[in-house]
Symmetry: C2
Subunit: 252 residues, 2 copies
Amino acid sequence: MKKELKKVVQNELNPNVSVDCVIFGFDLERLTVLLIDRGGNTKNIGPRLALPGNLIYNNENIDQAANRVLEELTGLKDIYLEQVGAFGDPNRICKDADREWLQSIRAEPEARVITVAYYTLVKMPDYAPQASSFAKTIGWASVNQINELAFDHFEILQAAKEKLKQKIKIQPIGFNLLPEKFTLSQLHRLYESILEKPLDKRNFRRKIQKLEIITSLKEKQRGVPHKPSQLFEFNEVRYQELTQNGFDNFGF
Amino acid sequence: MKKELKKVVQNELNPNVSVDCVIFGFDLERLTVLLIDRGGNTKNIGPRLALPGNLIYNNENIDQAANRVLEELTGLKDIYLEQVGAFGDPNRICKDADREWLQSIRAEPEARVITVAYYTLVKMPDYAPQASSFAKTIGWASVNQINELAFDHFEILQAAKEKLKQKIKIQPIGFNLLPEKFTLSQLHRLYESILEKPLDKRNFRRKIQKLEIITSLKEKQRGVPHKPSQLFEFNEVRYQELTQNGFDNFGF
DNA sequence: ATTTGAAAGTGTTAAATTGACACGAAGTAA
DNA sequence: TTACTTCGTGTCAATTTAACACTTTCAAAT
């Protein structure tokens, strides 16, 4: 058994633990996810598209790492973030972004990496993706048009979708995917996209309105070639009141 | 930045990643959890009681590690197991069990350890805890009498309880905590323990029976100083049939 | 033998929730 | 003015939920 000394340097990347982010968006039609294109050079193994992610530093906790990766990538802070879980086969290979660095400190380019996956919900108008140090190209993809991803990222994406599906049945987190002002139809389509099944329009509206967590604005949609829709906003204050009074049935 | 070479030895413990198990049981009165006593020697920091856990090997995946720890501890295989998530502050200290080993290979006894927590459900008659290489003492504790645990284990326990609570609202996993033959009252108390709220007896029984996933045996309870209860067993086959036909409403 | 104690088992009703279902209204574009 | 598109709205039957109390059956004690 090898027993070389390896000092833990605090502000160094930990070569064994990474964070991957499933960043969900909603283009008002479909649920989307932010993917990076790792490029097509021959050194890559498997599909080009991958979830954004990176190794964690030894002096940050896992949630911080997820927020950091997210901010580095999107510039957004304080956005809705939920852990999906830990993933990691022994044969999982390390990220391209860190491959060179890893090679410089270890004998093998393929390391045992555990990744902790998170999913996050962003309002698309708040963020237009652009290339970064992470990836040559980056962009939104429609979630259910994705068939494969690099590493075990497809599996992670499926797990994240499932978590989101379960969560939205219990808590009204969908508003994190919509602009501040939205229509009931948009909310309706959002729920259908996430739950992957049709919901009756009138029943949906009845149910949402009874929750008393959205406020009707005096404003209407403009410039649409049909009857303009009433705009609403999420009533955060009211929602807090309700949950603090033990009300927890926001279910679908 | 230090860049010493560190070869990844496959069948060696990974000093950065551990698995902790929240092993739930049910003593027919309360929900219980298996804890180890780390002993009272002065080298220990914080509370004596902790969740069982251990570092993972580089050549096993995380689920395998959890099953291994579980089998080493209880001798049980193939029991219900669900991931809670990854935990790990930068200042988290490593396990006693491995402290000496860790000290032998690294400069600092306190390492950055990420732990992946699991919860499992065991039928108590199947397992009577006994001391092992893990711990001097080991035993069941009533879940809601626990106020503190070593490391961040209390936080993990709370998260596991919450996951279990959510899960049992959706899937009939409670049977994993009961003996093969059980009474409706026992099942009733189990649900109340997990959900931490009273459930009306008659409504509970009606609801369970309508699910058609328990079978009434011809046998009754014996030797009790009151009217003996009908015994039931979980109908695994029927349950599979229902789920495969898309039925998914086992909710509470 | 009788009594006592303790949990088992059982049904109804009112209220709330769900699911199914169709058409007039309000805007833009041609 | 017409055509097109989406918005917005109510009822009814079926199902589900919540609240509620008394009799039965056994063992143990007297």
